[in-house]
Amino acid sequence: MDCYEIREQLYAYLDGETTVWRRRAVARHLEGCPPCLEGYTLKVTVRRVVAQRCQDPLPADLESRISALLAAEAAD
């Protein structure tokens, strides 16, 4: 696979949603191709940042409001 094909595969590689053969081919390519490796690094970074920065605290009373809502529903 050339750089273009590798770059098309990077997200599936990152997600572990690829065949064993393709996985090996991508890994081998990344080892020997700094530009593709840098591209991969950016993708890994963005994914990690998204995963880490998108946790918001639950509003304090939401759980009890939902509980009350369900109780009202059950009483209907």
């Binding site: 770059r7 591209g39 759980e63």
Partner: protein
């Protein structure tokens, strides 16, 4: 009606994730709370028929996705999934002669993005078109597989992959641009050149 205590006990642990997801989808806390309440109400009503053992989290996210579509359909702009096909940006970055410069710039970009405040990251995500944002959140925040995302959003797996691909690429561009805008990395081309 389903046993309320049992339902709550089984679903409680997913509430923070559903709330964060709802907040990214609706972009404001009041709507996010409404969406989570609606999700739990719908799930509670459907719970007597729930039979997908072990897939409770995916089931709740599917209900949340449907509730979001129903509640916000009027506000939704249909994203154009055909736009910006392919890998033009990659081709640009990797243009012959610019490989090393592109690699160095991207390393700096990755570092700058890593150091960005939460609000910048959230805003960049919230600016993504709806279906792209959903796919990215379900995969990168919630860790669902492509197949699970296909089930949750009720589209073929190929569509999931395409949405993920485009959503992530837009997000990378947005965050890279923001890093440049903030002066966190040198611009890729000299100004006025």
């Amino acid at each position: 009606m389903a046993d309320q205590a049992r339902f709550e006990e089984m679903t409680r642990e997913y509430m923070p994730a559903l709330y964060s997801h709802a907040l990214r989808l609706t972009r404001n806390p009041a709507d996010a709370e409404d969406l989570v309440q609606e999700t739990y109400l719908r799930a509670y009503r459907a719970f007597p028929n729930y039979q997908e053992a072990g897939a409770l989290r995916a089931w709740l996210f599917r209900i949340a996705t449907n509730a979001y579509i129903t509640m916000y359909r009027a506000k939704q702009r249909r994203p154009d999934e055909r736009d910006l096909d392919g890998m033009e940006e990659w081709a640009l970055h990797g243009a012959i002669g610019g490989l090393e410069a592109a690699a160095a710039a991207r390393t700096a970009e990755a570092e700058a993005i890593d150091a960005m405040p939460d609000e910048d990251v959230k805003r960049a995500l919230e600016d993504l078109p709806d279906v792209f944002r959903q796919a990215v959140l379900l995969r990168d925040v919630e860790g669902f597989s492509y197949q699970e995302i296909a089930d949750i959003t009720e589209v073929p797996i190929g569509t999931v992959m395409s949405r993920l691909h485009r959503g992530r690429r837009k997000l990378e561009e947005a965050l890279s641009d923001l890093a440049v805008e903030r002066g966190l990395v040198p611009t890729k081309e000299p100004a006025g050149a």
